[in-house]
């Protein structure tokens, strides 16, 4: 066990420490302990413990950032995004009813900050219909007479349009996710 070898190992462990800084302290300590134990066992089995062997061993162990990412479960970074996208759709439809206007506006914001939809999609989602199902509900609350054909037509549109538009966004979302997954597979990620 040479000084150089020790130094390389110490540097590696420090890199692990740095890469896992954002993890909960207990898990971080645990992981470091496991890494140290692994390195100690691996070193004991090295034929000469030379610098080259140490480096090879650490290379097999892997990039500290990759290990930290695996710990964070970031192999699926889309999971968080998926939650926001789902929320966008839900809020666009019924957000305006649950928290009048504001709920829908939050949905619109989430819609526009997402990268899954084209600008065309986003415009459609915003303009059809503003407020989502709120106008329909508002109509009900205001007890507007809907017995005439015109009234029935308006009610139908106020119900169908937001549902259709959100459904359309949902379909586009799924296609975008599938394309994205294919892309990542092609490049060998995930």
């Amino acid at each position: 066990m040479t000084d150089v070898a020790d130094r390389i190992v110490r540097t590696y462990l420090r890199d692990i420490e740095r890469a896992t800084r954002d993890l909960p302290r207990s898990r971080r300590r645990e992981l470091l302990a496991e890494m140290e134990a692994h390195i100690a066992e691996a070193r004991a089995e090295l034929p000469t413990g030379s610098e080259a062997e140490i480096r090879t061993m650490l290379e097999r162990l892997g990039d500290p950032r990759e290990i930290a990412a695996a710990e964070r479960g970031r192999r699926d970074p889309d999971a968080d995004r998926a939650v926001l996208e789902g929320m966008a759709l839900a809020l666009l439809l019924v957000g305006g009813v649950v928290v009048p206007v504001l709920g829908w506006l939050v949905g619109v914001v989430l819609l526009w900050i997402s990268s899954r939809w084209t600008v065309g999609d986003k415009l459609l989602g915003t303009l059809v219909l503003p407020g989502g199902l709120l106008p329909l509900v508002a109509l009900g609350v205001l007890a507007v007479n809907v017995s005439q054909p015109a009234g029935l037509l308006i009610v139908s549109v106020l119900a169908a349009a937001p549902i259709a538009s959100v459904t359309y966004l949902g379909v586009r979302l799924r296609r975008a996710r599938e394309r994205h997954a294919d892309l990542r597979a092609d490049v060998g990620i995930a």
């Binding site: 162990l61 892997g62 710990e71």
Partner: protein
């Protein structure tokens, strides 16, 4: 068009497969009794199942969190303490289910590969 790089099992679909079944491979390794981290990593490595050995430790942590394995540190005569892992009842059940699914899945793939190769 998909770009499939087929060399040394580095085809994108294979690495995805590997990642998907790695957890079950760990469970399978524990069937014979408790084993410690480094030992598990080495077996997986020899089986050609890992590119980055260090990522096995987060995997083991996940299996612990999911209740498929339990662990305990034990003093070792020849060095630092070792963390031994063993299957839980839930892990055994999970492995059994996977084994069945894997059998039919791999049979299906094999069949298709054979059929496709026929003139």
């Amino acid at each position: 068009m998909r770009r499939m790089v087929v060399e040394d099992g580095n085809a994108p679909s294979v690495s995805q497969l590997r990642r998907g079944v790695l957890g079950y491979c760990v469970l399978a390794l524990l069937q014979g009794g408790p084993r410690y981290g480094f030992d598990i990593v080495r077996s997986l490595s020899e089986a050609g199942m890992v590119t980055s050995e260090g990522t096995i430790y987060p995997l083991l942590a996940r299996l612990r969190r999911e209740g498929a394995v339990a662990s305990e540190w034990q003093e070792s005569p020849s060095g630092p303490p070792r963390r031994y892992y063993r299957l839980t009842a839930a892990g055994v059940a999970s492995l059994r289910t996977f084994a069945d699914e894997w059998a039919s899945f791999s049979r299906g793939v094999d069949r298709l590969l054979e059929e496709g190769a026929r003139p």
